[in-house]
Amino acid sequence: MQPEAPAPDRDALRRRHERRLQLQAPARLEELAGLPLFSAVPERARQRLLEKVLPRLRTARFPAGEEILREGEYSDTAFYVMEGEVEVVLGAYSVAEARPVVVRHGDASAAVDAGGRTWVGRGAPPVEAPSRKALGPGEVFGELAALSRYPVSASVRARSATRVLLLKLPALRMLLAAAPSFRAFVDARYRERALGRHLRGVPLFAGLPDERVAALAARAELCSFEPGQRIAAEGDPARELLLVRGGLVQVGVAAPDGPRVVTYLRAGDVAGEAGLLLATPWPFELHALDHVELVRLARADVLDAIALDPQVEQALWDAGVARLEQRGEALSDPGLAQAMDALREAGLVHGESALLIDLATCTRCDACVTACADSHDGVPRFVRQGKRLGRWLVPTACHQCTDPVCMLDCPTGAITRDWGALEVTIAAASCIGCGNCAQGCPWGNVLMVEAGARSDGSAQERAVKCDLCAGRREGPACVQACPHESSIRLSARDRAGAARAFGSRF
């Protein structure tokens, strides 16, 4: 049994955040132009790029010993060392220390590590012993976590007085697009540090021996696509298996009355199983809906890797047949394709478990809102108001996004998602009420509520959002409390669920 964790000092966390902000300053154009980081950009494009990214760049000075990044936290920033030296510590926290004690229902959710420090981040994979590495001027860190939205895999501290350039994700993407050599550097680092782990995450390759996965990783091609860009066209030769590293891919098919959406692919999903087995042309059209990062695995390499493994081959057949069945459904049922389109328009396609209310049966009794409030110390986590999708209401309730952008700007790591869990939770005790998550949520699904007073007497706010009533035996109270079964939870991954919900009732 884990020891009861004392509540973190919210004022101390707020002071840490404010101190972080004080350490930062806007970047200056004349200073940036001389940095080797931008020398990779062709000279004619450099000035234009710098002017574009300037608003998204800041510099920060860290005194020796100051922590810059913490293992397990989420970050949307890459760091470029301008002056001084930093130390990268991999496995600074044991798993027991790194994993927070998750106390549900708005109570304190934090753990204290062996050094007495409050840990508010998310756990990291186990590491046998801490390993350390020093990085000096001209080195980059944090770029993989920012691009992939995976938790930061190592802690970084300033070894001496250090000055770093902070590149927010949009600036990082612009730089990657403009500087091929920087792109190659980031890709090489990804291949070296993360690709093997990501390939292991694909059920198809989970049971393969290490050497085969390593061989696949070595030969994989990494590619990026801008929003709206076509990834594959229907009828093109299908000679590869595509693994989505990040972003959202729309899978469509051409119908006599125009293109129809079959499904969406997100981080960890694969496409191209049918082509891999049958060597037929692409039966789908793939489009990037946002910035998409893909791993392209050549057909011959995949077939080499899975050779002699009948289980993997069977899994591949099953996945391919299922995908072709989806294609058939999309062609035969225009309503389903329309529903899939609507899912994207309402942002539900990002959700792992979004709340929907069937207005045609909802009597507006607000039993769902009352039940939510009753399960969360009297403060409801959603508002029964929002966008309408035909007869469905999409209330202002967290969709539990696959790629939760609310996590990125949280200065205290109060927003977490446990490994394998659907719910993204905000630890009440660690939230300092900065409102970054509420501003960052594209659907306004994070609510700011009053939370008493600060030690200086000023009003304290805190962020709250739907947490799927985490830990509640029967699941979300809103769904349980609806007497007319009007409230449902829908995952964009659950295509059959979407068809059930929208197919006949859209």
Partner: protein, 237 residues
């Protein structure tokens, strides 16, 4: 102890009524700790409520032997039973029809608690729009539109297009010469008025359902109370 089979059936009827009356308790059960909370969904409770209510009705018929009741107590009990059934049937009807009406015929879908604030906001927005009207148009606004926006009212049917168009047309008619910009202002006013009338309708329909539920609860409560008095009088005397 109850007298004979009729008495036992009467007791079973009373217990069935009491069990059916426990339906609203499902809202309170949400607050219980995990281990004590029954895992049923509210929809299952509602199905059980209907089934037990139906069973109670059958038992009541068996209890009285399908005869016309004797005495004033019997008559009052029968009246309450009929009223309870009628209010339940009305709720079933409203639960089917009102969401459909609200969804298909109205564009608004405001949580009930926020409706008064939204109505006040609409009235304020309309006043702001009317501030720049010429005197004759302003008078038409004051007499035709402002009273409709003034306070939340009970409406049971969605606004007809003419109900929205006519008051604004009267303002337009009182206007000496309407420019394109002013026509846009009048369009905005029409949108505000439509939303307000729709909110009135939402308020009225939701209120009707609430009233039907209240009536069912009161009548059923009275029925159970009187049935308990009736049963205990046989028991005591």
């Amino acid at each position: 102890m109850p007298h004979g089979a009729t008495g036992w059936v009467g007791l079973a009827t009373l217990l069935a009524f009491v069990a059916a009356a426990l339906f609203p308790a499902h809202r309170l059960l949400v607050r219980l700790p995990d281990r004590l909370r029954p895992g049923f969904r509210a929809s299952a409770w509602l199905r059980a409520h209907r089934a037990i209510g139906g069973l109670a009705l059958v038992l009541a018929c068996i209890h009285v032997g399908a005869r016309w009741p004797r005495g004033s107590t019997g008559l009052v009990l029968l009246s309450l039973l009929v009223l309870s059934l009628a209010s339940a049937a009305l709720i079933e009807l409203l639960v089917k029809q009102i969401p459909r009406l609200l969804t298909e015929r109205l564009r608004v879908s405001e949580p009930a608690a926020l409706v008064p604030a939204r109505v006040a906001q609409l009235a304020e927005e309309a006043r702001t729009l009317a501030a720049g009207f010429p005197p004759a148009a302003r008078q038409a606004f004051d007499t035709g539109v402002a009273p409709q926006l003034a306070a939340l009212r009970v409406r049971l049917r969605p606004p007809a297009p003419a109900e929205v168009a006519a008051p604004v047309a009267a303002i337009e008619a009182a206007w000496p010469a309407v420019t394109d910009l002013e026509r846009e202002t009048l369009d905005d006013l029409r949108t505000l008025l439509r939303e307000k009338l729709e909110l009135d309708t939402q308020h009225g329909l939701e209120g009707a359902l609430g009233l039907a539920r209240l009536a069912h609860a009161l009548v059923s409560g009275a029925l159970i109370g009187l049935a308990a008095v009736h049963g205990s009088s046989f028991w005591i005397y």
